[in-house]
Structure formats: C-alpha cells, structure tokens
Subunit: 283 residues, 2 copies
C-alpha cells in the first residue's frame, strides 16, 4: 500500500471513539503501514482505553492538541456535535488538513462546512454500517469491511474527495459519491423508516407482555434496532422529517393486511408475501 | 449419553428434509451415539442428497417404508401436511412409536392427533428457530442449539413427553411444556406480527424504489423475514388469525410517531425510543 493508494494521510485525528470512531481507529491500526492515530473522545476514559488497547498512538487530553497537526480529521460524533465542531476545525487545523465526518445525514453538515469556509477541505462520509450497541467497547476492526460509504462534497474539494475515497477503499469499504440532498431524502426510507418500525414493533410487543427472550431469531432481528441510541436519533429526526410519509404508508399496508385476514382473503396476503420475497431476492 | 438421557429412540424417521427436518437429521447424526436416521422428503432429490452428505442412514423411496419400523417419527412438513399425515401414521407405524412434529401452531395438530387416536403417542414440538432460507441446503447441525422448543401434549402422553423432551435436550435445545391454545395465541404476537411487519416494510421500501442492497445492516435485519415461504405462512395464517389486533396496534403506533414528527414533538419520539430500548435490554 503506497501513500497515494491509501489517501496519503500519515497523521489522522479521530474525534469521537464510539462504535464508528473506535472501529476506524482499530481498522487504521490494522493496515500494513498504519498512520499515526491521535484520538480524542468527549468521554475521557474512552481515549485512554483505546490507547491501552493499541487502537490509538496518542490520546491527548485536549481536542485542540489532537487535531493540531493532523493531515486528516475524522469527526465521529453525533450529528449536532459534527455541525458545531466545524468552526473549531477551521481555527485549529493545518491549512491543508482534510476533514471528514461519519454522520448519517449529509446536507446539514455540508451547509455547516460551507459556512465555516471548508468547501475545499471537507468531504462528508456516511458509512452504511454500525451497531445497535454503542461506545468504544462495541467497536471492531472489521466494521467497515464490505460496507458502502456514501461520500458528498462541494465542487472545490475534488482532490480531497479522491483522497478520502482512497482511505475508505484501503479499509475494505466501497465509497460512492452522491448528492447530499438526495442522499438525505433516501435515508428517510432506507434507514429512518426501519429504525422507527423497530421501535413501534417493540412497543406493541411490550404492551402484549412479550419478553424479548421469547422471540425467535426473526423477531429478534425485527427488534434489534430498538436498542439504538435515542439521543443520536433525536438529532437525525430533527434534521430530516421525510420519514413521516413512509411511516403512514407502512401503517396503511398493515391495516390492509389486517383487513385481508378479517375477510379471509389469504390470496391477497400470499400475493404480497410473494412480491416482497422477490424484492428481497433482488429481482 | 445413555438410552434414557436421549429419549431412547434408536430408529428415527424424519418426514420432510427442509431447514427443520434436514437440521434434525444433521444434529442427530452428530450425537455420540447417533440413532439410525431414516428420511423421506416429498422432494425426492432432497433425501438422496441428505444421504449422500451423511445426514441420513437410509432414504427409502416410499414414506410407508420410512416410518414402518421407527421408534420416533418426526414430521417436519408444513402445517397442513402435518395435520393430514396423522391418519397415515396411525396405520403405518409401530403401536408404540412416538410421533412429534415441528409445526409452529399446535392446536390444529393437537386436534388432528386426537381425532386420529394418537393421544398417548403424540407430542407436539415448536422449535423457536429457523431460517429465512428454505430447503435442505439451508439446514445446519447447530440450528437447535440453545433454541427454546415449546412442547404440547394430551394427558395420556406423559411418558412420550418425557422422551421427546429428553431428545430435544440432547440436541442442545431447551424444551418447555405449554398449553396449545395459549401457545398459538401467543405466536400471533411473537411470530406472526414480526413476519407480516417485515413483508409490509419490504412492500413500502419496494414502492419507494429502495433496493435491498442499499439497506444497512439494520434495514437488512428488518426485511430478512420477507424471504420466508408464502405457502408455509398461508397455512399458518389460515389457522390462527389473532394477528389482526396486533397489526392494527402497530399501525396506530406508526401513525402516532408520524403525528409527533409533524408536530415537532421530538420529546415524545425520544421517550418512545427510550422505553423500547429498556424493553429490548430486558428490564
């Protein structure tokens, strides 16, 4: 792996060391020629734990120290904090440092990067992976392997875009450049709808006095996302409310199935199951 | 493992060799003192494949031959076929042969066993495991390890119940004796609701032109069940329609979330997410 092939970042600052940031620290450390990894977490114990486990080379106490000499800064904090940190980055990083983030909505971050004057240096990333668990303890060196990573950028960031894409490829991920607004609208269906469906389903099962341990593997799959962080999702849902349309469409689809069952119309239910099985198989 | 500890069945007939029956054949073969496994599948190629892979000792062409000398017959076919086979079993098995099945609803099978005069010899099993894939190719020797298996029986089957429970324990499963009617009503929430929710969600995503490959791991979890067999589910839904109430409750829960988002009431949505996370964590 040469310096160009991996994006050429020799000193990388990781801001946030939860599942996403912690997994990046581990994955970068597992490279043949690992960059120097400097980490900072709002949870102080987390950066010390990461360093003691070899996931970080340096774990300074202050954020300003962590980012000062970095060639790449990766923000792996919740959406609101990502937006708020843009000004700090302008003031505290080298003039040629590239900045990326892993927030799951990109338009709000793109706006903040622009306002902060980072148009040529910021490339937004959204890795389509994660965990229903949170914190450094749930991180893994393999999290990004095979994962799609959506990238968004402003026009002046062409060179930075190539370098960030190369870094993701080095970690086994599959980067894809997309439009920020279209990406965010798409996430309402792809991500926010399944999340809130899991919460609603869990609420119904809970009201029916079903314990999670009584579920089979299918039911466990269907409620795993109910373990996701409410605080993280609050920020996402505040920024992108397009999921309402999909929630109502799902509500109608469920009412339709209930009506078909009431009417004994098993043909209709079976036809729906056949269509969705075909969809799941990708045809 | 002595003969008593594993239920003492030395010759076991497996009727049906899909995920459930095929996995039983493999798991029984992996025991320290495996019983003779005789298998029959309505799909002829499947029993030959199972024998060639060592999952069966004998693969006769005719069902009657497969069950004739068995000490235990395990029906691993869809619900309707399970019910219809009861008369065949009365005529074609030894007078002391025990019969079990793995259908996911138990009251219809309990009735059929009674009508056929198998009250003392039938013990219904419902293993809470499976796969969204089907067929022998999706079977696995480990499917039952750690899985809860609900058992139902009529009063005269006390001895058979102990033996079938012992067999499941030998395979690493956790048998639990329950009432058939209560079991089936409970499955409407535990199993049928998550299944139909996955189908409805898949229908909404399909209508939104989302490809399955565009989903993250959470969305993939939430739609995996859409791959389940429509034919198998048609029979289950025909026999137990109690899921309608839960489908409508979920529909209302989704509408409520959409309403909260419209009103900007993120406190309400966050509170729901906190409650369901607590439920998922089992507290």
């Amino acid at each position: 792996m040469n310096a160009e092939g991996d994006g050429g970042f020799r000193r990388i600052a990781l801001v946030g060391l939860g599942v996403m940031g912690g997994s990046l620290a581990r994955a970068l450390g597992a490279l043949r020629h690992p960059p120097t990894r400097v980490g900072w977490s709002p949870v102080r114990g987390e950066s010390l734990e990461a360093r003691s486990q070899g996931a970080l080379d340096e774990a300074p106490e202050r954020l300003e120290v962590a980012i000062a000499d970095a060639e790449l800064v990766i923000l792996a904090v919740p959406l609101g904090a990502t937006v708020r940190l843009m000004d700090t980055l302008v003031e505290g990083t080298r003039g040629d440092a590239v900045v990326t983030d892993v927030a799951s909505l990109k338009a709000p971050v793109a706006r903040a990067a622009s306002v902060a004057g980072l148009d040529a240096r910021w490339v937004g990333s959204h890795p389509l992976c994660g965990s229903a668990e949170s914190g450094f303890r749930a991180s893994s060196a393999d999290l990004y392997r095979g994962a799609r990573v959506y990238l968004v950028s402003h026009a002046p960031a062409e060179a930075a875009l190539d370098r960030v894409a190369a870094m993701w490829r080095t970690l086994g991920a599959i980067p894809e450049h997309v439009d920020a607004a279209a990406h965010d609208a798409n996430m309402a269906a792809v991500s926010h709808l399944p999340q809130l469906t899991a919460n609603a389903l869990a609420a119904v099962l809970s009201a029916a006095a079903v314990a999670p341990g009584a579920l089979g593997p299918g039911g466990a799959d269907m409620t795993r996302l109910a373990g996701s962080s409410p605080e993280m999702w609050r920020e996402i849902l505040a920024a992108e409310a397009g999921v309402g349309t999909y929630l109502r469409a799902l509500s109608r689809a469920l009412d339709d199935i209930a009506g078909d069952l009431d009417a004994g119309d098993l043909d209709a239910v079976t036809a729906l199951m056949r269509r969705t099985r075909e969809w799941r198989r990708g045809s």
